[in-house]
Subunit: 335 residues, 2 copies
């Protein structure tokens, strides 16, 4: 008996037709108790393994989902991926995971590959610099998709993320109102990232609302990573007196910033707020105040939205922005 056990083998062994065995397998149609049992027995004794690929070919439906991420190993996206995986496997889907390293070209290749694999849909954290045409393409390909955590300019696409304007406002308001800050900095995040603009807009709103000018904000874009935060911190320190409060584009950036601050003996007394509230934020010294975007829940919601769209194709585009909350700890100066 060469090769794997097929449904035909099972049927032969049970003395029924391939079709009947298929009915037993999928628990549909009319099959008598006895034959059902004979078939299931045959399946276990032969060690039958369902060939999902063959079934998908016939039914024209896959149950894999492409997950395209910019930074597979970043702690925040780790949580997002975790949520996605949970949401997908709970519904019988499996994620095909690809990393783009934030490179639109690699992203393009990745999506082509995933199409060849006939994925049922795509959850994408778009690389910075992704053209709006990507969404047009996905639409003409009738490939269901959901953007996760990052949006694109001039598109109308299904999206799951946090409300970044609110997030920026929240962080700024806390520094301004609770801690009496009169100057702020926003550190990290590449300029092309839309959520970055939203967050700084939120910060500016808070400044204005507090009777301050937007010139009270030092805006320093940069890489979203620990080393990015370290570099930005060094530049910020070198550029003159520190602002009263610093908001970082991610917790990792905040970690890097702290390293820079400590190198210059400024670790204490500076008010810092991170972003995303990853698992490690609470353990940081000082415990990091952070805008909680809840990566894992976000991933789960993205999975849910995508699967709903797959079940009901052509559903009008919906945008799911959760309102973030501020996880207040001590790095902002709270006791």
């Amino acid at each position: 008996m060469a090769g794997p056990v097929t449904l035909q083998d099972v049927a032969d062994h049970a003395g029924v037709s391939r079709a009947t065995a298929s009915l037993v397998l999928r628990e549909t149609g009319r099959v008598s108790q006895q034959t059902r049992q004979r078939v299931t027995e045959a399946m276990t004794t032969l060690g039958y393994v369902y060939n999902r690929g063959a079934a998908s070919l016939r039914t024209q439906t896959a149950n894999t989902i492409g997950v395209v991420v910019t930074h597979i190993a970043s702690p925040f996206f780790g949580e997002v991926i975790h949520g996605l995986e949970t949401g997908l496997t709970d519904s019988g889907y499996l994620p095909l995971l690809v990393n783009t390293d934030d490179d639109p070209a690699r992203q393009h290749d990745a999506i082509r590959k995933l199409r060849e694999h006939q994925v049922a849909g795509l959850a994408v954290v778009p690389a910075t610099g992704t053209a709006a045409s990507l969404i047009d393409e996905l639409r003409t390909w009738k490939m269901e998709h959901v953007l996760v955590s990052r949006y694109l300019k001039d598109v109308n696409a299904p999206y799951v993320g946090a409300d970044d304007v609110v997030g920026g406002r929240l962080a700024a308001a806390h520094l301004l109102e609770t801690h009496g800050c009169e100057s702020l900095a926003y550190l990290g995040g590449l300029p092309a990232i839309l959520s970055r603009a939203d967050r700084t807009n939120g910060v500016k709103e808070a400044l204005l609302h507090h009777g301050l000018d937007t010139s009270a904000l030092i805006d320093m874009p940069g890489e979203v990573s620990g080393t990015g935060g370290l570099e930005l911190g060094e530049r910020l320190i070198a550029s003159g007196p520190l602002p009263d409060g610093i908001i970082c584009h991610s917790d990792s950036v905040a970690f890097g910033l702290y390293r820079a601050l400590r190198i210059h003996g400024l670790g204490n007394g500076t008010r810092v707020i991170g972003y995303d509230n990853i698992g490690g934020a609470a353990l940081w010294e000082p415990p990091l105040t952070s805008v909680a975007t809840q990566g894992e829940a976000l991933g789960r919601r993205a999975a849910r939205m995508l699967l709903e769209r797959i079940k009901e194709p052509g559903t009008p585009t919906s945008i799911d922005k959760t309102i973030p909350e501020l996880a207040v700890r001590q790095s902002c100066g709270c006791p």
Copy 2:
């Protein structure tokens, strides 16, 4: 033209047979320049997408790999997954990712699902409590596999990881010899994890070699996470005077430990060494000395070994243990 564009459509459009189109596609066999061009043109104008599922069915070869991980969102495994993804996609494979939450039952389900998807092989970080029979099953199923980062008792399976005995010895020797410690603690890691026993054995070797008794080691198993480290830290502090040096089962455990130390005002002066040297270790305060297991490289090596085994089935089992190095920073007391 309902449904997706098939190779038949391409062939018709180019005025050739399906077989010829297939030859063009795979760039094999003899096809004239002209027909080749006509076919490729037809492919682009029709927007043809290769159906890898159909091809896999025919050729009996998949190019997906199942990646089974215990903690998808942990920073260390994030690096491992990153390496795996890189190694796999570089060779034209794609990872199907599943999380087990360290639960053997879920792991069992996950592997069954992956088999149904006809994955070409499995990279597994086995859940604690995984029975040795798993390897027997995989072998009888002729499912190529590689264990990653964690080994199993009483099995003989392909493995890629770091040498844990050396790792433990390295950390301990540094504390004993460079810093003159005379008592140590090993914090975190569930007792059933084999690598934990290896590491503590390495620590004990170092103690004996240094003329100390193994009773100089406080051995406190526990969860491998920040909160795990926090709890263990609290217990350790409550249990009496701190040992001279503390080795943690992971950097996350060390982070949690530091929180506990700081709550009790013991943040400075305690010598701590983490494990895995994740990205965040260098940013920690104090910068964390850590045993560098190099998660990303480890993932890449695992991918390579697995793909080699798939290409050459029946290759004798090989164990790839890299010798870790100590990334010396300040948390151990070094300047």
